[in-house]
């Protein structure tokens, strides 16, 4: 049955800005949905204020609105674009909520629009806990027990019935304040009385605790004919209590028997049926107690989610695409499985690998003591392997979190490790490995390894030795392992243990059992970690000499040919011993590689040169195969598979190079996991580039590991490698793709010819490293060393831009200005240099990303404080000190250059002054405040820099202007955060231009170049916003992290961004603020405090203006006085300000601190924090205040009005 013909156009609501907990997975799903619906012939409208998304790129949807996701704007979007239906399920919780509001406020009825995907009643049913619970009981499924109580006694009685521990949640408090876990009657009494006091309704929810329950998830699909299936099952390694976004997860489910699995599967399907989801996907979460086999339904999301993006990537089943098609009435058996190209989407993917997701935390920026029910991670990586540990190891390597794979933690005692393991610490799995690792070390050193038999109750594990029975048949191991007082020789060497038929000595079983108890992580996982720790020990025993002789031996056999050895007894024994050593070496290397250890990690642990390890591996024929993800475990031949490497796999596909064209494909390096400073924007650049290359009939390969992104979608590129962005893995792929594959059939034979030093990669295949942010640039550095060519800007140029000295020289030689700066090689030198430059100065340690530890200091004393604060990251690397340009205007320029011209896509003026990280500041495009002459100067400087550095492709230049002088701050020879934004609003696809440059097209020959060419400079073209005023506002996730100062600083903290479009600055600013969840008030009381340095005529003018708009002020005494002196009425407040904030009296907070860092007790910081928690709009800079005043003025006089961009208008068609 074809899709519905009674609807012609569909509105898709996006999820808005990236925040912790709602990231780019919704762009991925939204983008799939747009394409799926366009395929079915619908007109598609996208509503999403996030400018970095792929779903809002020209040519994806028919119309786009960047307006805030608020009912008023959405209503106007509907009024203007007149869709027949709204697809609710693609934009996460934001879209569901907005859809519900549109329904409840009658907007949908007014315009005759229907909700598709999930309808209002289904959304409420799944979201309302009471209704959901009742429904579950009706279909015979259990939910965790919970009940509302009003008195302490009631609570105590309840707890006795359900058993401790219990969770207490006071009703109607913000962010679960006043709640907690009670483990005894005593603690429940205290907790509950406190909770009841905190709660405005004097009631609290007492809930059974699910500690020690495991968490499982099912991703489901169901169509209108009630055909339902399970796309993917996911097991959370971490137990209940840790948000699934922060858990390490593995797909498919590993530790459930078929019986338990099928019971859960059937339950999941019946939940979906009961809720009535009949045209789309959903996700059901279960808690399961492994000992009692109790199974509880936790929740159900009637939409695509982070897990469904993950499940799609892990299985090859495009959930969002199917959901969209089901929403318009297709059935599962009508949709083609594009991966196999043969089968239909009604099937359950069968995996023949294991997919592991690892979260990425920003521990430096947002310190987290322990994990909980609220999500804290900012990104994630997915890795695939043929074993759990291989996938886990690759995923950790991919997450670029400072570990080169699964490494033990440094410098922790067993006791410290134990305490990390007990807490829900983000590095818990590392700690467990370290724990076993140290235990093994002690064991092999002959020390006592205590058994943990008597710790707590009896072990749950079956230690009565089916595991250890084989010992009798094995003569390699000693039988005395269980007794603890043996010497090393009695226990045998690491190798003996490693090669024994049991995984590890029996004494470790009790430790496994103890950790299982403590962490509620499954035995299966802990076993693997223990086994891995032993492998680490074995790897450390590898010796350089043995490996060398292995490699040399291969040489000599090659030299001597098959000449028989002389029959000396001695040589024979020697040969035997050598053979044995070699066998051991080979086995350890195989195991290490099959466990996903990268060569660098093996080198690091064993102290052997990495190159020797590579050569030894090649001699032994240990190479990875590139296997495909095909949804069907190889049962059918697949057409568009994507690939992963594994050491227990063989190559399946020929290199992508097409024989006819004789051209290598272009390889794009992705940007890896999302993090602060490197997020969705870079992935969007990659996707835009793929489009551009495809348009030019080039084959494109992408390497990336972020499961949330569009670039890792199966049909975006010609070939996708889901792999770590790490030299070893990337080199492997590149060598394979250019046919320089030194071991394409890893059979276990000796590869004498491979003992030669590794030849550099032959040039031929070209990679694009400008799009994946700093990750890909760093990777390019290593790869160029190994003989690889970069497309576009050469590595020398990149270096010249990044190396401070070279860069200074370049700026100087061009006659341009830079802020004065110095380099301190020691901490002592810091003060000397700072004094010479004159305070304030900007201090930044080198080799940090995203402005970590970058600070403005105003005095010598503050330098001491700075050192004290950052001692742990300050190493011997030089520290840069810059003159700090106070109150300077900052500009961001995005451009594309070739050997002879430059196309400036946009000049963005930062709204905040210098001192705020460019990723955090709001900015406005196009800046009309510069004089014509200064503009010309700026353009010419950009041109000069590009020419001098020989930039080919994307470039982002940051500069500051103070007193009509242009200071060049930074040149980034890569795509920038703002490129997608500029491309969309200028209607010139900059990435497309860059792709042209990379392939040898001339910029000057492009039609858009002629259109925007400067009159007086034939080599420069400057585009501008085609959609009026554009204000970009950064979005923060401060509310996720308890004690954080939400002010802007040189250190980047934002997680996402939004834009606001308008015909006036005020309109654009107001929209951007609203989209960033900072709803400017139009009336009310303003709390104001401005630091003395900035209490100038400008700020008073703005405050007076706001006063005239009808706002009244309250402030602390000093500020109050200052205001009154300016003739502005102000109410003095003291400590009662906290109360008034909590009561909601304050409509807006203006709190402008100095740039310096302050302690957590600082009053300003406490107030800012409070504003975040109570969701009061707050302003922390004077330019921000200016924007807000204009925005408020606009809002007071205008109705909400949307801006819709039509993509079929002429400007777009012209630019391509």
């Amino acid at each position: 049955m074809p899709s519905r013909r009674d609807i012609k156009s569909i509105l898709i609501i996006g999820s808005g800005p990236i925040v912790v907990g709602q990231a780019c997975e919704f762009d991925y799903s939204g983008n799939q949905a747009v394409r799926a619906l366009k395929e079915e012939g619908y007109r598609v409208i996208v509503h999403n204020p996030n400018p970095a998304t792929v779903m809002t790129i020209s040519g994806v949807a028919d119309q786009v609105s960047f307006d805030p996701l608020l009912c008023e704007y959405a209503r106007d979007v509907i009024r203007r674009t007149r869709p027949d239906a709204v697809l609710t399920t693609m934009g996460g919780q934001s879209a569901l909520n907005l859809s519900l509001e549109l329904e409840q406020r009658g907007v949908l009825k007014e315009y005759g629009v229907e909700l598709i995907g999930a309808r209002a009643e289904q959304i409420t049913m799944a979201e309302d806990r009471g209704v959901f619970k009742a429904l579950m009981e009706r279909i015979g499924l259990a939910c965790p027990f919970s009940q509302q109580v009003a008195t302490v006694e009631e609570g105590l009685a309840l707890a006795t019935r359900i058993g401790y521990p219990v969770i207490v949640r006071p009703s109607f408090t913000l962010g679960g304040r006043g709640g907690g876990i009670a483990r005894s009657e005593k603690s429940l009494r205290t907790l509950l009385s406190h909770a009841l006091a905190t709660s405005p309704s004097h009631s609290a929810l007492v809930e059974e605790s699910l500690l020690s329950y495991q968490e499982f998830e099912f991703e489901l699909m169901r169509d209108k004919d009630s055909n339902a299936l399970v796309v993917c099952s996911i097991e959370n390694i971490d137990p209940m209590g840790i948000h699934t976004g922060d858990s390490i997860t593995v797909a498919p489910i590993q530790t459930l028997s078929d019986d338990a699995y099928q019971t859960m599967r059937s339950a999941a399907l019946s939940v979906m049926e009961a809720i009535g989801i009949d045209c789309g996907g959903a996700n059901v979460q279960f808690a399961y107690h492994p000992a009692t086999k109790r199974q509880l339904v936790i929740e159900m999301n009637p939409r695509v989610s982070r897990s469904s993006a993950l499940a799609s990537k892990a299985t090859g089943f495009p959930i969002a695409r199917c959901s969209a098609k089901l929403a318009v009435g297709c059935t599962l058996d009508e949709i083609l499985n594009e991966i196999t190209g043969k089968t239909r989407m009604f099937f359950e993917p069968s995996l023949d690998y294991c997919a592991v997701k690892v979260p990425r935390f920003e521990m430096d920026k947002f310190p987290i003591a322990y994990l909980g029910t609220q999500m804290h991670s900012v990104g994630e990586t997915l890795a695939i392997g043929r074993s759990f540990i291989e996938a886990l190891n690759k995923a950790i390597l991919s997450s670029e979190s400072g570990f080169i794979g699964f490494e033990p933690l440094k410098n922790h005692s067993l006791k410290e490790l134990d305490s990390i393991i007990k807490q829900l610490h983000p590095l818990r799995s590392h700690a467990i490995v370290s724990y076993f690792y140290m235990l093994f070390k002690e064991y092999f050193a002959g020390h006592t390894v205590p058994a943990h038999k008597n710790s707590g109750t009896e072990t749950d594990l079956d230690a009565n030795a089916p595991l250890h029975d084989h010992k009798a048949t094995n003569n390699e191991t000693t039988n005395n392992e269980t007794t603890n007082h043996k010497t090393t020789s009695d226990r045998g060497s690491v190798f003996d243990t490693f090669f024994s038929s049991v995984p590890y000595p029996e004494i470790f079983l009790s430790h496994i059992s103890r950790i299982v108890k403590k962490t509620a992580i499954s035995t299966w996982v802990i076993h693997h970690l223990c086994e891995y720790a032993l492998l680490l020990c074995a790897v450390e025993e590898l010796s350089q000499e043995d490996l060398q002789s292995l490699v040399d031996g291969a040489y000599s056999t090659q030299d001597q040919g098959q000449k028989p050895d002389q029959n000396h007894a001695q040589t024979q024994t020697q040969a035997k011993a050598q053979a044995r050593t070699q066998a051991i070496l080979t086995q350890i290397l195989i195991r290490a590689k099959e466990s996903g250890m990268c060569d660098s990690l093996i080198a690091k642990r064993s102290g052997i040169d990495e190159e020797l390890i590579v050569r030894a591996r090649r001699v032994c024929g240990i190479v990875s195969g590139l296997a495909s993800i095909d949804t069907c475990a190889a049962e059918f031949e697949a057409e568009t598979p994507y690939l992963y490497s594994s050491y227990r796999a063989h190559h399946e596909l020929a290199p992508l190079k097409s024989k006819k064209e004789d051209r290598y494909p272009i390889v794009i390096l992705g940007s890896g996991p999302n993090r602060i400073g490197q997020g969705l924007e870079f992935d969007t650049c990659c996707t835009m580039a793929i489009r551009a290359f495809k348009r030019r009939n080039h084959k494109v390969i992408i390497i990336n590991n972020n499961p949330e992104t569009v670039s890792t979608d199966y049909n975006v590129s010609d070939r996708l490698y889901l792999e770590p962005l790490f030299p070893e893995y990337v080199e492997r792929i590149l060598r394979y793709e250019q046919g320089d594959d030194w071991a394409s059939n890893p059979k276990q034979q000796k590869y004498a010819k491979h003992a030669k030093p590794v030849a550099p990669m032959s040039s031929g295949i070209e990679i694009v490293a400008q799009l994946g942010g700093q990750t890909s640039l760093n990777l390019a550095r290593t790869l160029t060393d190994r003989g690889l060519t970069l497309l576009g800007t050469s590595f020398a140029s990149i270096n010249a831009a990044e190396d401070r000295e070279q860069f200074s020289q370049c700026i100087h030689s061009l006659g341009l200005t830079q802020p004065k700066h110095r380099i301190a090689n020691t901490l002592q030198e810091l003060k000397v240099h700072a004094k010479k430059l004159g305070f304030p100065v900007l201090i930044r340690p080198s080799f940090v990303i995203g402005g970590q530890a970058m600070e403005v200091v105003y005095s010598e004393r503050e330098i001491d404080l700075f050192i004290a604060r950052h001692r742990h990251i300050l190493s011997d690397d030089p520290i840069l000190i810059d003159e700090f340009l106070e109150q300077a205007e900052e500009y961001d320029i995005d451009a594309v250059a070739d050997s002879d011209s430059v196309f400036i896509g946009g000049v963005l003026r930062h709204i905040e002054h210098a001192g705020v990280h460019s990723g955090d500041s709001a900015s406005v495009y196009t800046p009309f405040v510069l004089t014509q002459a200064l503009m010309q100067d700026l353009y010419c400087s950009v041109y000069a820099i590009c020419q001098a550095l020989d930039i080919r492709g994307c470039v982002n230049i940051q500069c500051a202007i103070k007193n009509d002088t242009i200071y060049i701050l930074e040149v980034n020879p890569r795509a920038s955060r703002t490129m997608p934004l500029v491309s969309k609003t200028s209607k010139v696809d900059l990435i497309d231009l860059a792709a042209g440059v990379w392939l040898g097209e001339t910029l000057a020959a492009q039609p858009c170049f002629a259109r925007y060419k400067l009159k007086n400079h034939p080599h420069i073209a400057v585009a501008h916003s085609e959609v009026g005023w554009v204000v970009k506002e950064s979005v923060f996730s401060f509310d996720r992290f308890g004690d954080i100062d939400p002010r802007l600083s040189p250190q980047m903290q934002s997680t996402g961004e939004v834009i606001g479009l308008g015909t006036q600055y005020g309109e654009a600013f107001a929209k951007a603020s609203a989209a960033a969840h900072c709803l400017l008030p139009t009336v009310g009381l303003v709390y104001v405090s401005i630091n003395p340095r900035e209490r100038d005529s400008r700020s008073y003018y703005l405050l007076a203006q706001l006063n005239r708009l009808g706002f009244s002020y309250c402030a602390h005494q000093a500020m109050c006085k200052a205001l009154k002196a300016q003739g502005i009425a102000c109410e003095p407040v003291e400590a009662d300000v906290y109360k008034r904030i909590e009561q909601g009296d304050i409509a807006l907070m203006i709190n402008v601190p100095e740039h310096r860092k302050v302690s957590s007790r600082d009053e300003g910081r406490v107030l800012r924090n409070l504003a975040v928690r109570h969701r009061i709009p707050y302003i922390t800079t004077i330019p921000g205040l200016k924007g807000a005043v204009e925005g408020i003025a606009y809002l007071q006089t205008h109705q909400e009005r949307c801006t819709v961009i039509d993509f079929d208008d002429e400007a777009y068609t012209n630019s391509h």
Partner: protein
């Protein structure tokens, strides 16, 4: 650790290992047993079908299953009799083995499969009450070969079709071209499963008949189950469903069945090719028309043969838990558990029979209804174990099709089928 090699009849081979003592023979051992023997299909087998050579020699038809869960149910499913099973899912044994999940109903301690090939086997500790898979394999004397790239093997089977293979204990150094050639030549001589009477090799321990009674069953009916290698979960489902379940061995005569006076007869699943099972087909032909007949898997094929349809050997069969079928009556789709290497030729179905289910992947016949002869059967496994339970309603439908009366006093109890009392 023992080095093992898996050798296919066409010469494809791959090395792996077994980390516990294994029954795999050495090359010489294997050649002397098998090489001297004639083609197995022509070799006379004793009634039990299990000769020493078979037990020792680790060869059989090589198939793969894509089921990600339920390794124990797979290894103990009598339909896999004599086959080497390759698990495409790489991590096997994660939660151990429990007697509860055994599917074999015959000879409690014999494992139907000849050997298993997996990528990695879990050797860690298991929960109390379970035993580890390696321990289990040792006790039951079956070879589980580890360390193979099962995906490559699967692709090989998919591309080249089914063939025989052997697992032999040997190191890469020991396997020279000559012995490889001799082994493959021997394997090639074994022919295929086609035309082999696997039923005769099924070690039967069922006495001629036994009976399970369940007063609380959903249907007041007497059912005869013809046990041709039946999975235990079929018996469990049925015993919860009908008040009187008679289980007859494959040698049961028509007299015995008729003496039982059943409301209907269900023909079970079982191993191998249905074509050579002439006595069974004859039996069904005689029963046809007199008593309603239902079938599952092999039973379904035998019933089709009794109606004059033809069967064929599939290239590599359907083995897994994710096979989509469509109910042609209402176009509803189901995910099913399947395990068969033979299928019924769609066109050969007689006029009296209408297709009931069809596989939406390859269009093969998955079930038919013959109201005239009162024969209703499915190719897939509604009893699951392993696999999804989405089609467990088929058992009830069988009862309804056979017009068996419902016991009025008792509500639905199918969900609790497994807890039914077994006499």
């Amino acid at each position: 650790m023992h080095s093992l090699v898996l050798i296919c009849a066409d010469g494809w081979h791959s090395f792996g290992f077994s980390s516990f003592s294994t029954v795999a023979p050495t090359i010489d051992n294997w050649l002397s047993h098998i090489g001297s023997a004639q083609s197995v299909s022509s070799r006379g087998l004793d009634q039990s079908g299990h000769s020493d050579i078979d037990a020792l020699s680790n060869w059989g038809e090589l198939i793969f299953t894509t089921s990600m869960s339920g390794y124990q149910e797979t290894f103990t499913d009598p339909s896999y009799l004599g086959q080497i099973v390759c698990m495409t899912y790489p991590l096997i044994g994660n939660y151990g083995i429990s007697a509860r999940w055994d599917q074999t109903t015959v000879a409690r301690h014999s494992i139907p499969i000849r050997a298993a090939v997996v990528s990695s086997l879990y050797h860690g500790p298991v929960e109390k009450g379970m035993i580890s898979i390696s321990e289990w394999a040792k006790r039951r004397n079956i070879t589980i070969m580890e360390g193979i790239d099962t995906r490559s093997l699967t692709r090989h089977i998919r591309d080249k079709g089914l063939q025989h293979a052997a697992i032999i204990r040997c190191t890469p150094e020991e396997l020279d071209t000559h012995s490889l050639r001799t082994i493959t030549a021997t394997l090639q001589k074994q022919g295929s499963m086609l035309g082999t009477n696997m039923l005769s090799r099924l070690p039967s321990t069922v006495k001629t008949s036994r009976c399970i009674k369940n007063q609380e069953a959903l249907y007041d009916a007497r059912l005869v189950l013809l046990e041709y290698g039946c999975k235990r979960s079929i018996i469990e489902q049925l015993s919860a469903l009908v008040s009187e379940l008679w289980i007859f061995s494959s040698s049961a005569s028509i007299k015995q069945i008729e003496a039982c006076n059943p409301h209907f007869v269900l023909v079970s699943n079982g191993p191998g090719d249905p074509q050579p099972l002439t006595p069974q087909v004859e039996l069904l032909s005689m029963l046809k028309g007199t008593i309603p007949l239902c079938g599952i898997c092999l039973g379904h094929q035998l019933l089709a043969l009794s109606l004059g349809a033809r069967t064929y050997q599939m290239k590599f069969g359907h083995h897994g838990s994710n096979h989509p079928v469509k109910d042609l009556n209402d176009n509803k789709l189901y995910i099913t558990s399947q395990n068969h290497g033979f299928a019924i030729e769609y066109e050969s179905l007689p006029k009296s029979a209408t297709p009931w289910f069809v596989n939406t992947n390859d269009g093969s016949l998955e079930g038919f209804l013959d109201y005239e002869n009162r024969i209703f059967s499915v190719q897939f496994h509604p009893e699951a174990h392993p696999g999804p339970r989405d089609t467990s309603w088929i058992f009830e439908r069988f009862c309804e099709l056979c017009k068996v009366s419902k016991q009025s006093t008792h509500p639905m109890r199918v969900a609790n089928a497994r807890h039914a009392k077994v006499e």
